[in-house]
């Protein structure tokens, strides 16, 4: 977990590691669950997400990240709200 002056919180989903690097004083469990929340959104958005989805739609992943985390803080935690916004954006494409 600890890493230089920060700490890394990670969670493994099959072959994928999702890592998040936070301050030592930050709440571990909260960020652990934030990762899970993020993954659930990805899963919903890509309908059963897999690695290749993430690789080939990397720009979409960035959008998801921007919706949920911004400036190093959690932005939005409601899955439904995030998904609604994402679908709206997708319709613009």
């Amino acid at each position: 977990l600890p890493f230089r002056n920060f700490k890394i919180i990670y969670r493994r989903y099959a072959g994928l590691y999702f890592c998040i690097c936070v301050d030592v004083t930050d709440n571990n469990l909260a960020y652990l669950e934030a990762i899970h929340n993020f993954v659930e959104v990805l899963n919903e958005y890509f309908h059963n997400v897999c690695e290749l989805d993430l690789v080939f739609n990397f720009y979409k992943v960035y959008t998801v990240v921007d919706e949920m985390f911004l400036a190093g803080e959690i932005r939005e935690t409601s899955q439904t709200k995030v998904l609604k916004q994402l679908l709206m954006l997708q319709s613009l494409e």
Binding site: F18, G72, L92
Partner: protein, 937 residues
């Protein structure tokens, strides 16, 4: 600082850039089983060439294909290849009206930040247009780009604009969220550019917003702002409390979208609790009551049966619980809550989730330091010890050690130290040194019986000799020398320990030193006669390293003094070729000098020169300092300094001259005049952290005591009646020892520590003869930075002046980090007196400024050197222990004054970053030079 993309061989890390040193950086790591690497590179080069020709082609590309190629470039970049073109095309995309094209443009710019000023102007222009567009999607994209890049240029351009968007009534919720976090990012990178204004009060009211997403974002912003400007955001406390209470009391379905596995808005709760940790407990009793209720509810919920078996449910619930506990610890005012928190953590200690055990131990460490819950934490000692023995996860075991260290006090020190020693035998190598330090500190701090201390340290050396650093064994020697009641025991114990056929070199060092000083105390026993002692030590001699041998040679010459009967044996050894013609200069010199010394000097001279070491001035344990260093992000150089300082102490034994100098006549027990005391009366406020002023005043008073009988009378028995009305107003946590207690110690002794806090330690050593006295005051700088304008003055009240004459010698006004200065005070007691004089100390810590920044130019050592020299400072080679660092020094001449400047530039090639430290005699100068130079590398 802002790490873009890292990748290594088979695995590619796409780091989605939330880069900011303070907070989260999100990284997804993708494993891709690619074809062979060569094939990949070939394919990519072909593609790059294709794209380049498209961009250069005469035909203007339409938006779609431009997007396609920029997107391809981005992908190639993310695969770990350098991209050096395409920025212009990406900027063009920004002005497109199609969402997808704009999005790719922004993405490219966020990921491949470019410092080309012309481009930045164009980018900022595009962002400005989008912000003004009133299209929430475009505004969102623009805000996200600012938040992701967060450069200073952007802060300059938009720091004024964003607060307006944030508080405007007609802004969409999602845009508000982005704006809040965007502002937060800018505030972190360039706090000076974000103007505080009337928007702040309106931001606080966002905590009441209907939209929980907005509240979440606003809470983050307010927390950060409140850390720097607590006053301005004070009103947020009551709002946060009421919001929190609405969340925790809501039924799990009330918050709909924001309920996560039956836990209502866990992240928002955590953030609110964190915001509250910026403030002391609320003063308004109603708010306070409500908050206490919330915290109780959270604790109660932990006891309820889980609403779901899923790990997500319990994690989210416990995230809130742990944050609530840290708030309870932060407030440290409700004993009831503290004890409940402790019991809750106690349950977690045996939980089957490793994460929970780890976190419980971690939180308990902080709980242990609160006076209310210290006892409660202690009840879990057995569980913790058990964890140490049975835990499978090394990081959890490490926490268990930390907790044991934190919960240790006089009552359980013996047990804890014994357990830690046990554990040490099987401990992981990586944490051994730390455990050794901890054991050494605990053993010293809580030693009632110093024989136990000596045993413990010798055990340490036996079990983990390699991990016993110099500080540890220096310290044991200091303690033995300073306490005559354990000297005999120590000599006997080391003698026995040395009997072991294989013993660690550190043991030989301790043994050599102690026997050299106190071997005479056990020489009466025929089993440890002088000759046996000598032969025992000498049998180890050849197996030891040079420094140890040098130390042993000093021991031998001390033996010559202690035991004249074995003088010839020792001289024979010194005379042997292996000593006199030793290839090592140090050893050879010692052998020659000691041999001569033992031959020509009379017994009297020998006795003086080789006198027992005088007690060491008491000061902060160097081990403690080392542990702090280990924990904190200390620099190597600081550590070196300490070591150097230590070893100069040790040299005292090796250099006969200095032994002589410091071999002061020991104060006779029937001191003619006795007593002196001092109590630090500290009105010292902790240095105000917000304002830049760093002047720290430590008021303390030192005193000489009463001689009730006329000078010259033989049967003086003084009962110093020391001023007892002093008020110690400093927080107990600030002083390492209770100051008052330290003061009163001097009633019955002449030497010791007078005062100690995190910055400074003051030690006293005094001698008295009839009505005259001399006092040595040692000021130890405990920080790693220099103290400037260090001026201790002794003040006598008017009454006192007539009865006490004090003469103080001036002290050097600068005290180096970790160094100690001595001040001599001559005292004449004219008549009896009551009040103690006051010692007033003023100093300002050295002005140092540090900046960490990303390299703006290729990190070439020669160019950097040329720049430093060109800047006008001298480049000092081989000063820094790390040869990659640059160290420079110079003087700025002005008409009025000269300002000395020191600079250190530490490159980190891997991260492409620099750390620049400037130290000058004026803070403003440090600041300015640091700013100037940070732009140069």
């Amino acid at each position: 600082m802002f790490t873009n993309v890292c990748f290594c061989l088979g695995l590619k890390m796409v780091q989605v850039a939330e880069g900011c040193p303070k907070h989260s950086v999100l990284i997804c790591v993708l494993f891709i089983s690619g074809k062979s690497k060569e094939a990949e590179i070939k394919r990519i080069n072909k593609e790059l060439a294709n794209i380049r020709s498209k961009f250069k082609g005469d035909k203007a590309l339409d938006g779609y294909s431009k997007k396609k190629y920029v997107c391809k470039l981005l992908f190639i970049f993310l695969l770990g290849h350098d991209i050096d073109f395409g920025h212009m095309e990406a900027v063009n995309l920004l002005s497109s009206n199609r969402y997808t094209e704009k999005q790719i443009g922004y993405l490219f710019i966020s990921v491949l930040v470019n410092s080309n000023s012309e481009l930045i102007r164009l980018i900022n222009n595009a962002i400005k247009n989008d912000l003004a567009s009133r299209n929430p999607t475009f505004m969102g994209l623009a805000l996200h780009c600012i938040a992701n890049v967060g450069s200073r240029e952007m802060a300059e351009a938009f720091a004024g604009e964003i607060p307006k968007i944030l508080v405007a009534g007609d802004t969409m919720d999602s845009v508000k969220q982005s704006a809040a976090l965007c502002l937060l990012r800018l505030y972190r990178t360039s706090p000076d550019l974000v103007p505080m204004g009337d928007w702040t009060s309106r931001v606080v009211h966002l905590l009441n917003d209907q939209h929980l997403g907005v509240v979440t974002a606003a809470t983050s912003l307010i927390t950060t702002l409140a850390q720097k400007n607590p006053e301005e955001f004070k009103t947020s406390v009551s709002l946060a409390v009421s919001r929190l209470s609405r969340i925790v009391t809501s039924a799990s379905t009330d918050l709909q979208d924001y309920t996560y596995y039956f836990v209502p808005a866990p992240w928002l709760s955590v953030k609110l609790l964190r915001l509250l940790q910026c403030y002391p407990p609320p003063e308004d009793p109603a708010v306070r009551g409500r908050l206490t209720e919330c915290l109780e509810t959270i604790l109660n919920k932990a006891q309820e049966p889980p609403k779901s078996k899923k790990v997500q449910h319990s994690n989210a619930k416990n995230a809130v619980l742990f944050e609530a506990i840290s708030l309870i610890i932060h407030h440290d005012s409700e004993p009831n809550l503290l004890v409940r928190a402790c019991n809750q953590l106690g349950q977690f200690l045996q939980h089957r989730e490793t994460n929970l055990r780890y976190l419980a131990l971690e939180s308990m460490c902080t709980l242990a330091s609160s006076e209310f819950s210290h006892e409660a934490v202690k009840t879990h000692i057995e569980t913790v010890i058990n964890a140490l023995k049975t835990e499978r996860d090394v990081s959890v075991r490490q926490r268990a050690v930390d907790l044991l260290y934190a919960m240790c006090d006089r009552s359980n020190a013996q047990q804890i130290v014994a357990e830690m020693l046990n554990y040490l035998e099987t401990a992981d190598y990586s944490i051994r040194e730390e455990i050794v330090l901890k054991v050494a500190i605990l053993a010293e701090k809580y030693a009632v019986d110093y024989t136990w201390y000596v045993d413990t340290i010798l055990n340490l050396i036996r079990i983990a000799g390699d991990y016993v650093s110099e500080e540890v064994w220096y310290r044991v020697i200091q303690i033995v020398i300073n306490r005559d009641d354990v000297q005999g025991y120590a000599a006997k114990t080391v003698f026995e320990a040395l009997q072991a056929p294989a013993c660690h070199e550190n043991l030989v060092k301790v043994g050599g030193y102690i026997l050299g000083e106190f071997g005479n105390l056990i020489a009466g026993d025929p089993r440890s006669s002088p000759l046996i002692q000598f032969n025992l030590l000498h049998s180890k001699f050849h197996l030891c390293s040079v420094p140890t041998r040098a130390l042993l040679l000093s021991t031998y010459i001390k033996f010559v003094n202690l035991f004249p009967e074995i003088k010839t044996t020792i001289q024979d050894v010194l005379r042997s070729d292996s000593q006199l013609k030793n290839a090592d200069v140090e050893l050879q010199q010692r052998a020659v000098e000691y041999l001569r010394l033992s031959t020509i000097a009379s017994t009297d001279i020998l006795a003086t020169v080789l006198e027992e070491m005088p007690p060491f001035p008491e000061r902060e344990s160097s081990i403690l300092a080392k542990l702090k260093k280990k924990k904190g992000p200390g620099t190597v150089t600081d550590l070196e300094e300490i070591k150097k300082e230590r070893s100069s102490d040790m040299n005292g034994s090796a250099e006969p001259a200095s032994v002589n100098a410091s071999a002061v006549s020991t104060p006779s027990p029937s001191a003619d005049l006795l007593g002196l005391g001092a109590a630090p009366v500290t009105n010292s406020a902790p240095p105000p952290s917000s304002s830049g002023s760093l002047l720290v005043d430590v008021f303390s008073d030192s005193a000489s005591a009463v001689a009730p009988l006329a000078p010259g009378s033989d049967d003086n028995f003084a009962s110093p009646d020391l001023a007892s009305s002093e008020v110690v107003s400093e927080e107990p946590a600030d002083t390492v020892h209770d100051a008052d207690e330290l003061f009163h110690k001097f009633v019955c002794k002449n030497n010791g520590v007078l005062f100690e806090n995190q910055l400074l330690q003051i030690g006293l050593k005094s001698e008295f003869r009839q009505n005259l006295g001399r006092m040595f005051i040692f000021y130890g700088n405990k920080t790693s930075t220099q103290f400037l304008n260090f001026t201790p003055t002794v003040i006598c009240s008017d009454d006192l002046q007539s009865s006490l004459n004090l003469q103080t010698k001036p002290v050097d006004p600068t005290v180096d980090g970790g160094a100690q200065v001595q001040q001599v005070v001559n005292i004449e007691c004219v008549s009896d007196f009551m009040e103690a004089p006051i010692l007033n100390i003023q100093f300002s810590p050295k002005q140092e400024v540090q900046n960490i920044f990303k390299a703006k130019h290729p990190m070439d050592a020669e160019i950097t050197k040329a720049k430093i020299i060109g800047f006008g400072s001298a480049l000092l080679e081989e000063v820094d222990p790390n040869p990659a660092n640059f160290v420079g020094a110079g003087i700025i001449h002005t008409k009025t004054t000269q300002i000395g400047c020191l600079l250190r530039l530490e490159p980190n090639l891997q991260a492409q970053m620099y750390r620049l430290t400037l130290r000058t005699s004026k803070e403003a100068v440090s600041q300015r030079l640091c700013e100037l130079l940070s732009e140069q590398f």
